[in-house]
């Protein structure tokens, strides 16, 4: 594998992990713009657990410990944050990420503003299998009754409550598990590049990840995979193709094209590329109708 392809693959894998971290709460209707915060927590916590100046634990221990650490923080803040909804939740999670960033920059024992070197290295043979595991886990998670509850909450919270769904608990679980996935992604980022600084994990990153999920679609577990893959691959591929074809204007202006595409996507597929209806249409076998609607409507039953 060439170095360039490998570097792109790493970016793709990290994007996918981040996206699933945002997708799990988004499936229940939570708009979380705090991705950068959880990624920062994961990256710094794992780096510190791993560092010779810190706990000196091996990477395979420091990463899960970082996930637990992030999970505890996410659990604690989920209660005030989940009292907000819609655009107010966007603001609350954004504020959380800014706080984390501000704290990280000012903590001297993790390098402060100078950044923090990370000891153990995670290469592509670690990151790709972990990414596949995250994807499989997310598909499993969404197929459970808990996943069904989250999708019900997304559609109609009060009806879900009346059928016995504990809305608060389900939302907290989705928020916390999502934060732990983002922590995992952040840890892998640190261990791959072996250097982290809080400024890398800025609000632009949070926005991109939320966009991956919303563009891909929040109704099925395919959404974030499609969204992240599309966003990570297409702009880069467009540059490659344009440059090799000698189209300098396209290589430089590809983000304009991309922006237009996003607007069109939101106009024509506002629920994301992958919706439930589309999934059923594509996966006809499992969900095929037993007989056509017309039979029943004729009053045959």
């Amino acid at each position: 594998m060439s170095g360039y392809i490998e570097a792109q693959l790493i970016i793709l894998c990290l994007s996918i992990i981040y996206a699933y971290g945002i997708f799990l709460p988004a499936a229940s209707g939570q708009l979380n713009l705090g991705a950068a915060g959880f990624i920062t927590l994961g990256a710094y916590a794992s780096a510190w657990f791993n560092a010779s100046t810190g706990a000196e634990l091996p990477m395979w221990l420091s990463i899960p410990l970082a996930m637990i650490f992030t999970g505890i923080i996410a659990f604690a803040i989920s209660f005030p944050i989940l009292r907000t909804r819609g655009v107010y939740m966007v603001l609350a999670t954004f504020a959380f990420a800014e706080v984390v960033s501000g704290v990280a920059i000012n903590l001297e024992f993790v390098g402060g503003a100078a950044g923090f070197p990370v000891d153990d290295h995670a290469d592509v043979t670690v990151i790709v299998p972990v990414t596949i595991a995250v994807i499989l886990f997310s598909f499993y998670f969404m197929s459970t009754r808990l996943g069904l509850s989250l999708r019900s909450i997304h559609d109609d919270e009060s009806v879900a409550t009346l059928f016995g769904v504990n809305v608060r608990t389900s939302k907290v679980v989705a928020f916390t598990v999502g934060a732990m996935l983002m922590s995992l992604g952040g840890s892998l980022y640190g261990h791959h590049y072996n250097y982290i600084e809080a400024q890398t994990f800025n609000v632009l990153l949070s926005i991109y990840i939320l966009l991956y999920v919303l563009m891909g679609g929040t109704q099925t577990a395919w959404g974030p995979l499609i969204g992240a893959t599309f966003f990570a691959v297409v702009p880069e591929a467009l540059r490659e193709i344009a440059e090799s074809a000698g189209l300098k204007w396209l290589a430089e202006g590809r983000f304009i094209l991309f922006g237009v595409f996003i607007v069109l996507l939101m106009v024509f597929r506002s629920e994301g590329v992958m919706t439930r209806t589309l999934q059923d249409r594509l996966g006809g076998g499992l969900f095929r109708r037993k007989k056509p609607i017309a039979d029943d409507m004729a009053g045959g039953s």
Binding site: F139, Y140, M142, S143, T144, R145, L146, G147, L148, S149, R151, S152, H154, D155, D156, S158, V159, A160, T161, L162, F163, G164, V165, N166, V167, Q219, T275, R276, T277, D280, L286, F287, R288, R289, K290, K291, P292, I293, D295, D296, M297, G299, S301
Partner: protein
Amino acid sequence: MTEHLLEIAGMHKSFGGLKVIDDVSFNVRRGGRTALIGPNGAGKTTIFNLLTGVYPIDAGTITVDGQDITDVPPQDRVTVGMSRSFQNIRLMPHLSTVENVMLGQHARARKLGDLLFPLGMLPRNRWRQAAEEALENAGVGTYPGEIVSNLPYGVQKRIEVVRAMVSDPKLLLLDEPAAGLNKTETNQLQELLERVSDQGVTILVVEHDMQFVRDLCDYIVVLNFGRKIFEGTPDEVHKDPAVLEAYLGTDEDAAEAENAS
């Protein structure tokens, strides 16, 4: 076993200064089919919302099967044995038919093991099979994978009843189940409800279609402006002067209403 499955005593509810439910008391006989009727704005749907815990009540008690549920939070009331359908269809639009019905099973599947069971990955699991069977029995087993928002209105209405039924309720609350249905659909619904009732489920139904109420129900409670003005059998309700005046208006109006229904 108490004779009455549901007992409402001295129920009060105000929104701001407006008294919407004013000292309402009535009982629902176990295994019976009771109708709750009244003009628009009488407080029928509000009573359903108070029973299911959407709003807390200001005063009074609600007893289901001998258990006082006045202070039970809404997500736990379904486990007491009470389930409902809605006036405006409130199926989950992004869930398939079967998934909607599986949501109705939630009250019986709240243990951690049940919550983490991969319903969607194992197509022949017992929950899905039970849901498909329930749909089949209600005559809507034709398209389990279909997204509900694509289905005809009458079918969606029946799916709501099926969803409410799979929680295994003792008391089924139906809010205008026949509204907006044509004659064929109404008959299908009535047939379904009679079968439900024969299984021993107690039914409390809010309905404007008087023909439907007379055909289905054996007891009627009439509300007007948040107060109970009558309770008795369907035969008696037509002779009660207070009901005639409040609910049907004058004789001419009553005759018109008859023709229209």
